[in-house]
Amino acid sequence: MDFLEKLKETLKSVLPIMAIVLILNFTIAPLGSMLVPFLIGGVMLVIGLSLFLAGTDIGMVPVGEKLGSVLTQKRNVWFMLLIGFIIGFAVTLAEPDVTVLANQVHSLNSSIPETLLVVMIALGLGIFIDIGLLRTVVGYPLKWVLIIFYGIVFVLVSIVGQSMASISFDASGATTGPLAVPFILALGLGVSASTKNDKDGSFGLTGVASIGPIMAVALLVMLSKAGSASATAEEAEAAHTLGRVFLDTLEGTAIGFGPLLGIILIMQFTMLRFPKIKFRNIAFGMAYSFVGIVIFLTGAEYGFTSVGAYLGNVIATKYGAVLTVVLALLFGGIVVFAEPAVWVLTSQVEDVTAGRIKKSLVMVFICLGVAIAVALAMLRIILHINYLYFVFIGVGLSLLMTLVTPPLFTGIAFDSGGVASGPMSTSFLLSFALGVSGSADMGFGLVGLIAISPLIAIQILGIIFKTKERKGRKEANNAVAGK
């Protein structure tokens, strides 16, 4: 059964981070009373992630793909845009992470009402899902869409200044929760599979969609003529019991999942009309995903948040900058293996390319990218480098690369940006960064950096792929000519 294989795979992806933390535990940073929660958390990650992945395969993914193809086959642009917008808007509005983010922004700049910000982010996502859908249908090159809109983003963030810029980029990571991402990915696949465009259109919807929140936050900050940013971010909450964390997570996930589930149910009876047994399987799949992600998030929050903060603090204060950066590199690389959405994206890449681009290959490159991003983020905290440099160089470079990267890889790259910054980044890595910096202000922007790094890493993979294939073809031609 696939579930057992999934269990084996996820075990392999969670074990490295467990191993490193345990080694640290027995050498330089004893965890003390945090050890048991950490181990429980690790077990929950494995079980939750396997269940989630098994569930998305039979639940969220088929629904998203079918919806994509039905929307295209209706051949009514306005209808497609309406549904796309409603999905993006409703899903974001309900996402608990967005509320948290709005809180942070409000604490930095009290002239921005939280509700307005949440609505703006939701509007931004809805509009950019529409832009992404339209692009997918007509097959307009992804690179121009990205270059145009990121160009606007550049202008906006350089006006709002670095602390707001970092929050804007974090917003794009926070908006799409782990249940919505597989759905949006599948929606893009469904739309592109029903058109005669080649595979280049399959990816990129998530990437385009995540521009929306960045713009929304930056735009709102700019219009509100911000007072100076003064960081008074809230203290990390006190230690939680497992039961408390579980109930909080359950509530948050249920609220986020509710609207999406409602929309899907309405559509099942109006336009999707899955036959009986398929629908039963989908219902099971959704249930597995939901239970799985709740277990996963609980484990991450309960076992990993405090450990991350503690390690960051101990290592930065006792062992200095070099070890901090090295460990950040290590953590960044291996924590991404445990991000749920990364698994969904990479297996879809393998499916769409019929195995030509292997799952493990994409994953390794995402890991490399994130490893470097987290290390750079530590450097930034230690050396107090301006965040805007990272944004301009990072995003600027990735935009330039779109000009030479094969379009399929550009799509995968910008989608990976959205998926790499998931619950593991926010629980473990963000806490680690906060622990290192000692103040909440500098921790902002980490999630955004994590989201930027795969843009470059995956496009490098694409360029390598292109040169290899060209070389291979040349050799084959030579061989034929030689005969």
């Binding site: 249908v137 097959g139 029903s194 058109t195 036959p275 047994i277």
Partner: protein, 201 residues
Amino acid sequence: MLLLENNLMIAIVSHGQSDRFVSIAKDNGATGGTVIPAKGTASGGFLSLLGLGDKSKDLILMVIAKNKADKIVQEVRKDGKVNGVAALLGTEKENDMSSKWKMITIIVNTGYADDIMDAARKAGARGGTVTQARGTASADDAKFLGVTIVPKKEMILILSAADQTDKIVKAITELKCLDEPGIGIIYTQDVSDFKNLDPQK
């Protein structure tokens, strides 16, 4: 007859084992193969009731000289690293009227495979393999924003004993959810040889 000397071999193996299979086949006279990712459906029971029965599979298509087929299957089984089945399409020459196995192929709009497999299993099928495909667009196909729309399809392959084939086909064609025009097609083919690739004891 010259035409029958090359046959289409279809092999269905666990996901990731196709490279191994193709390389063994190449060592034994095959020229190459095409690998398609597919989904194997469970042979019923509790797991498929929970929706957890599906397994990732690789579907391998290979055109091979007929007399090489046995050797390839033998070597794969001797190697012992591949799990799956292989079938050789086409009528057997020796007793050409009736082959013992048949392959049922169903091509339908996407989303119906689970229901079709459920009906097929109840009629005696042991399992099936599902791959994603898309219909080819004809000249008068629908356009949307200047782009041709093509329907997504699922292709389902079921290998069954010849005496059960009719029953399975009947069960599928009688499915209520398939009761709309243009939803898909079903056909059967003779299979001259059918073997398990599981490791030799």
